[in-house]
Symmetry: C4
Subunit: 270 residues, 4 copies
């Protein structure tokens, strides 16, 4: 499907990031999203809502209008509108405006809970920012590559939490706040991740002993995801470094700022 | 000892993981274990137990039956039944069904505590999952290789905890919650691992000073297991990567998805 | 601009670190700053202030005099006085003495809050120490080099905190302490960084489930800054270790196995 | 100074670790220290002290006798008795027995506090174990090598804590628990190290904002000591690994347990 010149130009500005106009568009959008999210966060503070509620409501509708326009233009200038609408970013863009309109639709009725839900849902507009964060691709690649290992690690953490949680439920029992195994598992996760709220704490000597064991376990397995990611990141960084080759002696591993091959002295091309 | 064809076939399915049937058997078992553990966790919630207790009891016996069958078939088709029964996984498989039967045996009596113990013990059925987790062998190897260093590290943590615990017992004393040295050691472990429940906190100025010193110590030794494991993991990963060699120029360090030697261009065998 | 011999000599002592006199001057200054900050910290303890207030006040004015003298001499002997005054260290040196004089100026009036503010502001005198800390340039360089990645990481943490905070505000609501989205975001940061005060804790089952998810997320992303910095530090350390210099272009940072300078191609001596 | 054969033999057993007798002596001593420390820990529990106090007292004197004997024999068989007595381990060995005798000396008087102090001081006997832990020399070397960097890091943490603490004292003030700057610094260390007791928490909005900033700072600088140590450890491990070279093909990078060169199959010399 061939695009008209106008649509092609719009596409370069809105979807592209290479041209100055495209970059300016992205910057403006980032600021708009940030301000819009800030306004919604402030709206949730009852003191501010009471005093500036009308203003915040107006601001909110202004932003909804802008993001609706952005969504429609994106559909208009995309070469594959349906594919865009079904993509992750298309759904996020829709989610960013839908709750406001649904709230309008349900305003007559008194479904307070649903309205509250929709209000908060609008904040997922912040996900629109992910489009720009994801350009940090070294981090992403390192995370994707260690995905499987991190999954196995999480399974191990869950198995550990179940075992420690059951033990604590057995030893401490409902009289010390460990009212059920799910709650004990919640306590174990709070402990193993070293968060430690202190809303539930072991009271018996055996319970404190098991808790200490759980902490030391958590303390030592905190090393695992760090180790995995560090090793991957180091590899990623090294690969970036070793992607330059000497054309004469075919050696690699040159720093990105090197001008001459460090093994044979031949000038390096970029 | 030669196995009959039926037993050999069963062995391939149940113990093996290479054939499609073996993989399917493993997947079914993983789901059964997960559901069974979930049912037991829910049973511990008194509200759910009161309402669906009968159903959960029935489900429980169903699972006990399935796992008993699995245990018997494993014994039947294993080429060395006794060795299997005495192995780690054999004991775990036994432990996964024993508490249910013991509970039946003791139901007549009123040993409430023992019944509660047996109920919770059934949850160790989750250890059956370790069989599948342990396939994550890079992680395991890195952990096993840094075993000695981590042990020394834990000894150092225990010595530190004893010293800091005794000091706090001396400085704060029973009137501020540090009722005995074991309790003070428990507090030190809670602090050094940065869990920090806040159930016992230093009240005197000197106590808070020592606590701050303990925290900074903990904060800096948190680096030790991470450092050990990261260094081991990096080595393990590098080894895996460098385990492929070019047959022509004998260079190593090829990525696992490389098809050609990156030094001389010769196709790489697997 | 040519400096007179006296000013040149003073400049070498005060700004330089190479000569014995310069080193001695720096050491004296470090001790003076440390004692002065200590005196101010002690002054904030009401018991000590009540008993030794007069003495601490005298000590304070002594230090203010010394630092004022230092500031004036620095201006006098600097070859570019204005550039020094506008630099980071020049502003810190001014900030270290200004609050004391402002306090004198406002002593007649009863602006208690402002006086308290000025009192505490004097403690920023501790920033004068940064001049000496910043000599630790491996750490600094590693941090500066991973600056961009850490910024992206913080953006990701803020996006995550907003999402988790909004969810908790929705699920737990004002009745369980989550009175507004900003407060919920504060709670999420407390949780994700594994601080876990326990002043606000989830009470509902769904809330505890989301909290556990937030903790595990925090636990796994704690690895990211560590990984980034470790990889950078390892590179920095390796580069420093290989501080071999090219005799021709005087560039450093050559790997230990390099035979030729990577900037000008001259053979490297050992 | 020449030693008599008996003293030489004793020296090999007591100070050496190479002979079977020396190893057995070390093992026995480790167990004795562990049991002795355990007895003292139990003695601090008032319930146990009340019931088994007489027995624990007897056990304690038995151990004091054994360690006194060990100390005297060490002095007797050491080739440089004075140098041993003034060394770190000599002082620890003395400290391990001194409090018991001092306690006897002061038993007539009623200096309860001093007796309590001496009682707890005996627990430093655990430091005798350091002699055996310190054989973990890779860890030690990595720590000693990154000593300077870790010191600079701690200075930076203290400067940060002072600044954040002063700010919190200013913003929250004594009415919210931040009664003085030292207490606020204590709170900042509790927060930055992610311990988070929750005994003092920010109540004002600005205070919570500053607290969140402190947490994120702490979260990101937690990476620094980890990074330093990991980089050092990785270097140490690599050095150990690369210190062996094949004499035939001159390749390096052989594991410490390899017997043959993994590149050409030539037996490796140690």
């Amino acid at each position: 499907m061939e695009l008209s010149p106008t649509r092609q130009k719009l596409y370069t500005i809105i979807f592209g990031t290479g041209t100055p106009a495209g970059k300016r568009f992205d910057m403006v959008l980032i600021y708009l999203i940030a301000i819009s999210v800030l306004a919604m966060i402030l709206e949730s503070v009852s003191v501010i809502e009471g005093r500036y509620g009308v203003w915040l409501n107006a601001v909110e509708w202004g932003f909804t209008g802008i993001f609706t326009l952005e969504y429609l233009v994106r559909i208009y200038c995309s070469p594959h509108p349906l594919r865009y609408m079904r993509s992750f970013y298309g759904l996020v863009d829709l989610l960013a405006i839908l709750p406001s309109y649904l709230g309008l639709f349900l305003a007559g009725m008194n479904y307070l809970l649903i309205i509250r839900l929709l209000r908060v849902l609008r904040i997922f507009r912040i996900l629109k920012l992910v489009r720009y964060l994801s350009e940090a691709n070294i981090l992403m690649r390192a995370m994707v590559m260690s995905r499987r290992k991190i999954l196995i690690f999480f399974s191990a953490v869950l198995v550990l939490s179940t075992i420690f949680g059951s033990l604590m439920f057995l030893v401490e029992g409902p009289e010390n706040g460990f009212t059920s195994i799910p709650k004990s598992i919640y306590w174990t996760i709070v402990t193993i991740t070293t968060v430690g709220y202190g809303d539930i704490t072991p009271q018996t000597v055996i319970g404190q002993f098991i808790a200490a064991a759980a902490m030391l376990t958590g303390y030592s397995i905190i090393a695992v995801p760090t180790g995995i990611l560090t090793a991957e990141l180091a590899t990623e960084m090294q690969r970036e470094r070793t992607s330059r080759r000497c054309e004469d002696c075919h050696s690699s591993g040159h720093e990105s700022d090197a001008l001459y091959c460090r093994y044979c002295g031949t000038p390096l091309s970029d």
